[in-house]
């Protein structure tokens, strides 16, 4: 990525120096901290029995509890506890034998009680880690991200800002509130500070959130859709001069709504902070908002004084003390780690690293596994998805998995394996299926795509090719087998790709005395 900073930009009027990311990373060391909020996919809310379904009519999934009506009381959702423990176990955390809810007190209209029932000094999971791998100049490198805590809390309502010039919050005339989302269970995962990532900080952050997302998905505890808000990331970063051994002042960036944004936001923040430091300015400890369109961050609401949350133990709820037996039962429920699964598949399929990375980055692992499960030969399954299907998908600007089903592709690959289709013919079948001409069998029938394997028909084409390239034929007779390729190619061309290439080769070599 190039630098976002343009010295001609009026914001930089008076700046003495402007650094781009690479330059910044030569002079400064970043320290990261990542907070991820996960919306659990329980049926009911964290502290009441209202439905959690997305997209309901406003204020139709509320009750005295999640509306914070006078006299209402919370009751903990057992499934939410279970999901949180599973998350903690999957992140190698210790599960606290004794944990408690606490009130986090602050005022905001989207918070019905003007306190959030959360956890403070007695969270349910502590001290875990997650290993991620990224590509560096020196090849793949591993980073261990340590996890400080995993705790439970509740989501807020949603506000709509009406009026004002931009419809955004500043200058709005009034706000409208929908509390359907208020009280939906949230799990917060907080890392310890992550030093030593250097210029790879943005990538490490992205890899962490990606791996976390994959783990959460495999646990089945959340939809983990960043675009829908069921997975949210706040990225913290601070810079210190290279080798200083100190920690700088950190900023927190919110509104990071995709994996790519995680990377871009940190890239932009590091550049911003480096440029402030270079120009003799302090980095202010503040919350900033990521702007999708520019990749920059802007300051959040400036608070006159830092909020004092006045945490105290929630008196309406009793402590949570999961017993060791239950925790072990949950541990047996843990699915295979995504990283373990990836290694296993790589070994099973015998795939080189570079191709494996390509598959993972293209998010084709699941569909390839599916296609193979339906009987397709592994190498072909991979090559087709990564190759032809991805190429077509790029052209049409859609996801590869939306073009064709794994079932249809598996069927086509099976026909190639049995010799009923050549690669070239198969491409036409794929095209036909994508165009909506029906199933592979339908397309083959409609378009009359058939491999020519009839010996006599092939011999006609072979003899024609020999006649056209007598010198090549002579070389083959002389023992130069590779030269056969040119003649085979000519036969394939003449038959419009319908010839069975292997059969052509067999017949040709036999004919030329090299069988």
């Amino acid at each position: 990525m190039g630098s976002h900073f343009d010295l001609a930009d009026p914001r930089f009027a008076g700046a003495l120096v402007a650094l781009n990311f690479a330059q910044a990373m030569e002079k400064y060391e970043p320290t990261l901290g990542l907070e991820v909020h996960v919306e659990l996919n329980t049926n009911s809310k964290m502290f009441c029995s209202c439905a959690t379904e997305f997209g309901g009519s406003p204020n139709t999934q509320t009750c005295p509890v999640c509306l914070g009506l006078p006299g209402a009381l919370p009751v903990v959702n057992a499934k939410a506890i279970e999901s949180t423990i599973l998350i903690g176990l999957a992140l190698n955390c210790s599960i606290a034998p004794y944990s408690r809810f606490a009130r986090k007190n602050y005022f905001y209209p989207d918070m019905p009680k003007n306190f959030q029932t959360s956890q403070y000094d007695e969270p349910i999971c502590v001290n875990g880690y997650l290993d991620v791998e990224i590509d560096t100049d020196e090849g793949p490198a591993k980073f261990r991200i340590e996890i400080e805590r995993v705790h439970m809390e509740e989501d807020t309502g949603k506000s709509l800002h009406v009026g004002g010039s931009t419809g955004r919050i500043h200058g709005a005339e009034y706000s409208l509130l929908d509390y359907n989302r208020a009280g939906i269970p949230l799990v917060e995962i907080v890392t310890k500070i992550v030093p030593g990532t250097g210029k790879y900080a943005p990538q490490v952050a992205r890899a962490y959130v990606t791996e976390l997302r994959d783990i959460l998905r495999s646990l089945g505890v959340s939809d983990v859709k960043m675009e829908q808000g069921s997975l949210r990331c706040d990225a913290n970063v601070s810079l210190a001069p290279m080798g200083s051994g100190k920690l700088g002042t950190r900023s927190e960036t919110k509104n990071v709504n995709s994996l790519r944004s995680v990377e871009r936001a940190l890239f932009g923040e590091i550049e911003r902070q480096a440029n402030r430091l270079e120009n003799g300015e302090r980095v202010v400890q503040e919350t900033r908002h990521f702007l999708e369109d520019t990749g920059l961050t802007r300051p959040g609401r400036s608070k006159e004084q830092a909020e004092d949350y006045r945490y105290f133990p929630e008196p309406d709820l009793v402590p949570v003390t999961p017993d060791a037996k239950w925790i072990e039962e949950l541990r047996t429920k843990l699915p295979e780690k995504p990283s373990t699964r990836r290694k296993r598949l790589q070994t099973e399929w015998n795939v080189p690293d570079k191709e494996m990375t390509a598959l993972i980055n293209a998010e084709l692992l699941d569909v390839v596994e599916e296609t193979i499960a339906l009987g397709a030969e592994p190498t072909r399954a991979r090559t087709w998805w990564l190759g032809e299907i991805s190429r077509l998908a790029n052209e049409k600007e859609v996801e590869p998995t939306s073009l064709i089903s794994s079932a249809n592709l598996a069927e086509i690959i099976a026909l190639i394996a049995s010799g009923e289709l050549t690669d070239k013919l198969a491409r036409q079948v794929v095209e036909g299926v994508i165009n909506g001409e029906g199933s592979p069998a339908d397309v083959i029938a409609k378009r009359g795509l058939k491999v020519v394997s009839d010996d006599s028909a092939l011999m006609v084409a072979i003899e024609a090719a020999i006649a056209a390239q007598p010198d090549t034929a002579e070389r083959i007779r002389g023992g130069n087998i590779p030269a056969a390729g040119a003649l085979i190619g000519a036969v394939m061309k003449a038959t419009g790709g319908a010839a069975d290439a292997a059969k052509v080769r067999e017949l040709l070599l036999k004919h030329l005395g090299q069988a």
Binding site: P64, L69, P70, L73, V75, N105, F107, K113, L177, R310
Partner: protein, 499 residues
């Protein structure tokens, strides 16, 4: 012939025998209310329509031969801090003026199931903060024994309604003595059950770890009947005890304390209390001895810190519980002229909607929880709570129940202490330790103070989940006192001078 002076048990029996209908009984009470409540001001809202509908329904069931509970069809006054669906619930505050909850509290559900007729909502100190009902935004309630005096607080409306014969049963809530102290100064009976014994779902929270709803009546047996009707597990309240309801009615009828050890708590046994209060307390101890109990002296030294700890814990929890009153979703809204932001409207609403005492406690609680002060104040208070619990546990190894005068004085004059918060807080000195430990506490009338002729209350404290013990002792003492006097105490209340 009006039945309003009967006990609830007697009314229940009369109803069961068909001597009177619930509709007749209910109307008699509304007539009484119309006659005296302008002077007493126990009620904030009357629900004639709902009450008569319930009365009619109970009468119909009885006529159809259904077996009904002992207080089915009996009227009741409900402290305005408990939600009743569609009925105004103000908590004595301007903040909730006109608010009608969309749901019933657990207590109300149980009352309706028991066939009890809820006449209306009673006056209280705003958000249950006070000991005199002078902090109500709707004006004070007047003690029926002497209309120039306070009826106690925060549940003065409920206790006054009983003393004025406007209802034979009432529900109160008790956080530091708000059922027991009003009972003491109005010559009625009030019980704070073991914490968790009665559902807090729908009880507008003041101090969540201390609040408890409880039964109030003119006799110990009536209180027991109401106690059994409202107690029990509620899955909507995570702090609700999941155990069978204590057999308090049987205990109240037992009339036997032979062999029981009654512990007098040195630190709240009356030193510094009004002389007449001490006199009546000691006379009652004597009666218990005559009934076969043994008096032992126990010391709970940490009780000296109970008041201080309470006035840190309760305001702290209150500051958080009352944060929801911000005008966004319900309640009054002040200053929304289109030019002000949400925060400013919140600030103005809370300035106008809350009274002085409530604001005082919110600020105090905010301070006690704030960064840098938590350990010294809230944190320390929670430790004192542990010490108080330990004192009780130790005391209960030496005695079956503990006793003390309920309040240090009889009913004081309206306005006498309202400018001195600390003096007001001292009214709860004997009742607060009970809430801190979560045990059960009862106040029953034990006489009139000689110097002013005003009621004195006797407090009985029982161990966690052994509420039956206080009813056993209370029932026995009440019978002994009535026998000694030749009449009940409440029968001696002067006729209300109604203007």
């Amino acid at each position: 012939m009006s039945s309003i002076r009967l006990s609830a048990a007697e009314m229940g029996a009369a109803l069961a025998k068909g001597e009177i209908t619930s509709v007749e009984l209910t109307n008699q009470h509304f007539d009484r209310i119309a006659e005296v409540d302008t002077a007493v001001h126990a009620f904030l809202h009357l629900d004639k329509e709902g009450a008569l509908a319930q009365a009619k329904s109970v009468d119909a069931k009885r006529a159809a031969g259904e077996k009904l509970g002992p207080i089915a069809g009996v009227p009741l006054a409900l402290k305005d801090v408990l939600t009743q669906k569609g009925i105004p619930t103000t908590c004595g505050s301007k903040m909730l003026e006109g608010w009608r909850p969309p749901y019933d509290s657990g207590v109300v559900t149980k009352l309706k199931d028991a066939g009890v007729v809820i006449l209306g909502k009673t006056n209280m100190d705003e958000f249950a903060m006070g000991s005199s009902t002078e902090n109500s935004a709707y004006g004070p309630t007047h003690n029926p024994w002497d209309l120039t005096r306070i009826p106690g607080g925060s549940g003065g409306g409920s206790s006054a309604s009983l003393a004025a014969f406007e209802a034979p049963l009432a529900i109160g809530t008790d956080t530091g003595g708000s059922i027991r102290q009003p009972a003491a100064v109005t010559g009625t009976v009030g019980v704070k059950p073991t914490y968790g014994g009665v559902s807090r779902y729908g009880l507008v929270a003041f101090s969540s770890s201390l609040d408890q709803a409880g039964p109030c009546a003119r006799t110990v047996l009536d209180t027991a009947l109401l106690h059994e009707a409202i107690a029990g597990h509620d899955p909507r309240d995570s702090t609700s005890i999941n155990s069978p309801v204590p057999q308090v009615v049987a205990a109240a009828k037992r009339l036997d304390v032979k062999g029981m050890k009654i512990g007098v708590v040195k630190e709240i046994s009356g030193e510094g209390f009004q002389a007449g209060v001490r006199t009546r307390f000691e006379e009652s101890l004597q009666l218990l001895v005559e009934a076969g109990a043994e008096i032992v002296e126990v010391s709970c030294p940490n009780f000296d810190y109970a008041l201080a700890a309470y006035y840190l814990i309760a305001p702290s929890e209150a500051s958080s519980n009352l944060a929801r009153f911000d005008s966004m979703r319900y309640g009054i809204r002040v200053g929304d002229d289109g030019n002000r932001g949400a925060e400013e409207v919140m600030n103005l609403t809370r300035q106008v909607g809350f009274g002085r005492e409530v604001k005082r406690r919110i600020i105090l609680g905010t301070y006690a929880l704030s960064s840098g002060y938590y350990d010294a104040y809230y944190g320390s208070a929670q430790k004192v709570r542990t010490l108080i619990k330990r004192d009780f546990e130790a005391a209960f190894t030496k005695a079956d129940v503990l006793v003390s005068p309920t309040a240090p004085t009889t009913a004081f004059k309206i306005g006498e202490k309202s400018d001195d918060p600390l003096a007001m807080y001292l009214n709860d000195i004997a009742t607060i330790p009970v809430n801190m430990a979560g045990i059960g506490g009862m106040s029953l009338p034990c006489g009139l103070a000689p110097e002013d002729g005003l009621p004195v209350g006797f407090q009985i404290m029982s161990p966690v989940m052994q509420d039956d013990l206080m009813y056993r002792v209370g029932g026995t003492l009440e019978a002994a006192l009535n026998s000694k006097w030749g009449h009940t105490l409440i029968s001696q209340i002067p006729d209300l001078q109604v203007r």
